[in-house]
Amino acid sequence: MQIIPYLIIVGGFSYVGYGIGAYYIKRERFMLDIIAFCKALKVQIGFSSNTLKDIVENIMSEFSPPFKQILKSYLKVLKKYDYVTVNILSKNLNNIYLEEAENNVMLQLFNFLGKSDSQHQIEAIDGYLYSFNSYLLQSRNQKIKYAGLYKKLGFFAGVLVCIIVM
């Protein structure tokens, strides 16, 4: 029976470690979603000329929950405000997976959407794609480096605490 508290401690620390490790996995997935979204935008804007609301509503289901939430919030902004600005977007589009500079680039992308002709939109989206691809590489490296590390760290930290308590 005495082993149960120790198991709980190891389990708790492992869970925290797993959570931090999973953050890096989700962060990479978030980047992949932004890139997929940009590619879908390029096709939809360039060929079918669908409106932003239609595009977002049609493709939203294809993304993971964190990015889906961003798209839902963006849709609300489009419906609520006469004219979208970075300020409005920064108050409504929140996420924990991007660093500040990356988040600013994402807000700039959403702010730019719909405000010019298709040629200009596509050229700009290409620029954003370039940035997000480099962020993806960064997030992938972080995942390789930290995802497994934090999982192990959590476990060993739990074991260490158990040893100290004993």
Binding site: I45, S49, N50, T51, L52, K53, L78, D82, Y83, V84, G114, K115, S116, D117, S118, Q119, H120, Q121
Partner: protein
């Protein structure tokens, strides 16, 4: 429909103080007072009403213009760029927003407009029976003469054209009518559904230029009569010539004050030389929009006299 594009304050100031059917235009000019045309009388939009005095008028800002265009294009300017580069966006109900700004030109072609500076929101009106007076002079057995409607802007060309299509569609034995609605103003088509009555036997081809529309429309829909708005260049004249050569009757409209003035335009001279049009209906705003100035035959005899 207007509430979808206008800022709330401006919309309420207008709609609470004017009968919608009397509202012709709303004008926005950057840095100038916002004004409305009510039955060809000018009034200024103030914070909560309309006034003949510009002193308390709301001054149009860049933000107001941008927000109207952004909302009119459903937050997707690129999706309306074909219209914008021709200087307009048409929204639900056939409301046309004319746009002025700076043209972006690439390889001698207008790519788009930017730095929007003025907007002219034109409200379409459906006036049933406004073509009654002309109808009997335009009919030929169970069809219609090739007819050109000539009028200055705001004199009711499109309203006349729409009513004529409706009357022919309802009164004559079933004839297939094709309406080439380049600017979405005749049928006010939205997602395939006409917002304004164009009769029971009319097919509406929207957002298409006349040259392509005449050719593909005749091939695909087999119309007996084609209705189209605002002939404006040689390509349109060519399209009319093509339709006439196919044995299809044409009813079209053009900007002008009369036949004599139209002759000064080189492309109309060509059209007149071809002797395609057999009737000319001239409208003006003399006694309000849709005033008949004359209905002329191909020898330019006024049939109203």
């Amino acid at each position: 429909m207007l509430n979808n594009v206008l800022p709330k304050q401006i919309y309420e100031a207008i709609i609470n103080n004017v009968n919608y059917k009397d509202l012709y235009e709303i004008r926005f000019r950057l840095g100038k007072a916002i004004c409305v045309n009510i039955k060809n009388k000018l009034k200024y939009v103030t914070e909560n009403s309309l006034s003949y005095n510009s002193q308390y008028a709301i001054i149009c800002t860049k933000q107001i213009i941008n927000s109207i265009i952004f909302r009119a294009s459903d937050q997707s300017i690129y999706a309306f760029n074909e219209q914008i580069k021709h200087g307009f966006i048409t929204i639900k109900g056939g409301i046309r927003i004319g746009i002025a700004g700076q043209a972006v030109i690439d390889k001698k072609e207008v790519k788009t407009l930017k730095n929007f500076s003025s907007l002219n929101i034109r409200i379409p009106h459906e006036i049933k029976g406004c073509s009654n007076k002309a109808l009997k002079l335009l009919l030929q057995n169970n069809s219609i003469y090739n007819t050109l409607i000539i009028a200055p802007p705001g004199a009711g060309k499109t309203t006349f054209l729409r009513d004529l299509a409706c009357q022919i569609s309802n009164k004559l034995e079933p004839l297939n009518l094709l309406i080439l609605d380049e600017r979405f103003e005749i049928g006010a088509s939205d997602q395939g559904v006409c917002g304004l009555d164009v009769g029971n036997f009319s097919d509406v081809l929207s957002g298409i230029d006349k040259a392509y529309g005449f050719e593909s429309g005749i091939r695909s829909m087999g119309p007996q009569i084609i209705f189209t708005d605002e002939l404006a260049n040689y390509a349109d004249v060519k399209a009319i010539e093509y339709a006439s050569g196919c044995g299809v009757k044409v009813v079209a409209s053009a900007h002008g004050f009369g036949v004599e003035q139209l002759k000064q335009k080189s492309y109309f001279n060509k059209l007149l030389d071809l002797n395609i049009f057999e009737r000319f209906v001239v409208l003006s705003v003399k006694n309000g929009a849709g005033t008949y100035e004359g209905i002329y035959d191909s020898n330019f005899n006024n049939l109203l006299n």
